[in-house]
Amino acid sequence: MAGEKLETVAVEHKPEEKPQINSLGEFWNFFKDELKPRGNTSTAFNVLSGVAIAAGLIIILIRFFAGLGYPVTNLNQSFPWGLWMGFFVMCGVAFAGGGYVLAFIVYILGLKKYRPVLRVALLNALIAYILCSAVIIIAFGRSWNLPNVFIGNEFGAASVMFVVGWLFLLYLLTSALKFSPAFAEWIGNMKLRKTVGSLFLGAVAFGITLSILHQAGLGALMSMAKGKIHPFWYTELLPVMFFLSSIFAGLSMVIFIGTISRKVFSSQLDDEHRLPDDDIVLGLARICGGVIFAYFALSIIISRFEGDFALLNSAMGYWWLLEMIGFVAVPGLMFIHGAQKKNPVTVRAAAVIALAGIVLNRYNTVFLAYNWNLPFAEKYYPSFMEGIVTLAIISIHIWIFRWIVNRMPVLRKSPQWAVKLDKEQ
């Protein structure tokens, strides 16, 4: 309403803290304060993940001196991409897809009932992309040249990696922009909140465009490996498959994070966010089920066995059937069944299996069904150090996620003044 002076008192969970940060100096003090951990610092989880992070950082340091080969990774000349690229770039980006899918559902389709999970998804996407960038710096051999992708005069413009790189960077910025309202609410800066709030819708549209393109782009990265990827996993429609799978991967991740957050961050949840959880999960299940069905149908139609059951009756055939039936069809059916019978437990289980299926599919494309007919001595399997670094990065992800959720309005509604600002728009 015009003319009315707004209250600048934020309705926070902890009413004694009312930040109104207006300068960088104030922010720095506030931030230092907030860095102090809340709650018990020596839980089992903290200890284990702390050890993993420490070990991971040491290994990363070693990697920069010793190179990417043995003993840091098991990569070899026949398998250039392994666990790091396979998990963080191929799977991690797909898991972060919840951000754009939910943004589409809430802001384009206008289904406000999913709003409570939107910020979680956006936060997860942001952290995932930031850490994925870190992994890229670690996993690429000559990362000091990475700026060459964005600045300079030597652009490999016909490269899928170039396109994906640009889209990735732009999406990272867009993601930050989409999450910045929560940040602005946390520091209580109205002007910032107003600015980013007005850009939000544009960022949503931009983000969806970028997401569709770079989720598909991950598939297009492998498009020239025809003949090296087993026919069951290689198709010229790989970009389409990766895009479809990113939809239900992202939503499954949202369901999975929601399941865990309910228990772990219950102190942060307010009624608006806690109560409709099951309802949201069932709604997402319906969407996931539908998309998985389309993905499954497309996989079967374009699979290359062409009725030659002898090809199915081989090691790789069985592996493909396991992936298709056990990790795509079964969770799909579970999603639909759970949505019909209004059973959120089935849906949550289906989400876990679907996530495993995504990991399986992308691992196959990158190193399991890639150069599949080399003898075992030449094959790649992740090394111990690669595993430690992966755990370390995941732990860092969880730590950052936890830090932000415990402070910023992610699992609870925005303060009143912010809601009023949005209504004015």
Binding site: G69, Y70, P71, S314, M316, W319, L368, A369, P375, F376
Partner: protein
Amino acid sequence: MSKKILFVLISVIYIILIASGLTLVYSVGNPEPARQVLTAEDNKISIARTEIFGKLQRPQVIFDHKKHEEAYKQEGCVTCHPMNENKEIVFTFPKKIEGEGATAVMKAFHDECIECHKKEKKGPVTCNNCHIKDLANVEVDIPRAAFDFADHNKHVKIMSKFGKDDCGQCHHTFDLQEQKLIKRHGSEESCASCHDLDRKKGPQLAAITKVAAEKGLSTRRVSHQGCLNCHVEYQQKYRQMNKEDVHEIHQEKMGCNDCHVSGFKQAVSCSECHVPTECSKCHTGKYRTVAELKNTPRPHRGQNDIAFIDIENSSMKGVPFNHRAHQANTGSCRLCHHETLQACKECHSLTGKPEGNGINIANAYHRVQSEQSCAGCHNKITSEKECAGCHYYISGMDVETMNPKKNTCAVCHSGRKDQSSMPKPLSTPAVREEIEINVLARDYKAAKFPHRDIIDNLVMISNSSRLATYFHRDIQTLCRGCHHQSNSAAEMRIPQCRNCHMVADDRMNLNRTKLLSAYHRQCLGCHEKMEMTQARKCLECHEASAGGAAEIVQFRNESVVKQNTTTMLNVWRPK
């Protein structure tokens, strides 16, 4: 079931599936174990019939023929094999197939095998005991049985001893008018002429082969039927012979242990030496060479020692063809008489006719790619290792050769009815003994080349072969093996390689190799084709340079070298 247990159970199942899946995935690409191969000695037969069944649903059956043979020694082959209307055993199985198609064949096999096993209470009756999975990849490799001139000669001798010296005992032909087998003395052919169903025949034989094909009478079938029936008959006759008579016949030529191999209660079967009936006795895999058959008499078929080949209305003089010498140099008449034993011109006319598949007489004699033509066979002989050193690189003589020289054709086309005398053997001319090639010394010192020894060797090889002596009438033919573009009419002396082959690459004429490779391909090529064991490696021809391994090339790739020698942080060495 409580939810927790259900979750745990499902997770465990998934983990097991993934683990076993990964094991499978990581074992793809590992080399397969070697296939087991059974030979004729094992006397086993592979029953697969993939031509009827296509891709097999169950593994092949490895059938122990020897075991069955010994079990039914008394009853004989007719226990399993059918007889035809002439009371001959037809060595096919199953005895009777009711109906058509793969199912009928399978049923017949099962009926006859399993029924007998059930009756005798011996032998496998269940699926997996015959279709053994472990034997699915076993290969049964039985070599083709050869019936060469020596075998034919032996049979002719034996049969005339028994008073059966007309060729009609084995040879017959099919009269298309009467639609029956007849014996026509003087026109006996090889079994393969009519019974080789895989080879395309001319119009004359095609009609007969068609009849044979309709009755399923392939060479394999008729040779077993024709040979084994006679052998089995005589084997039984021998078995019924008097012990004293047997001893009397054999005692003088052989020792006791030759027959009584394992004690005196038993003796080896007569078919160990006579009328063989065991697979491995005929399918030996050993074939007599042409040299071993050189003195074996060839079958009489009314051939002349020297045939004067003179084609009517042709423009070339006739060729006195030494048939006697040529037949002693082949292992089979069919090498030249590829269809029937008639003369070439019966089917191949000047312009070509259907009987000869359109091939005219000139091509029939001169086609270099053929195996039956004169030029083709001679060309093939020059690919043997004694000749291939030079002849691999010389294109074969062909009737389409450009610029045919008079003296090339006149070697054969003499126009004289009698065999012109063989030319004199060659002798080494006065040439340099050793030649030093030092034009390209870089990593290696000069090569010393034993010129005269090589020519001596070539002369010796040429003189030891009638064919070579016939064609190498002039020592120049040998010189041209290496001095390949030499034209003595225009030259003062034989040119050196470097006269035509430049040291550097000839960018304009990619066809003409640089001097280094001219030497190496000429020398090494000859040595490789002649399958020499020496003079194949670098150091055998030239010593290494005194300075050690010199840099082969100058002008490095500077930017690459810089990349490769910049000090890197090279902490960890690869394992």
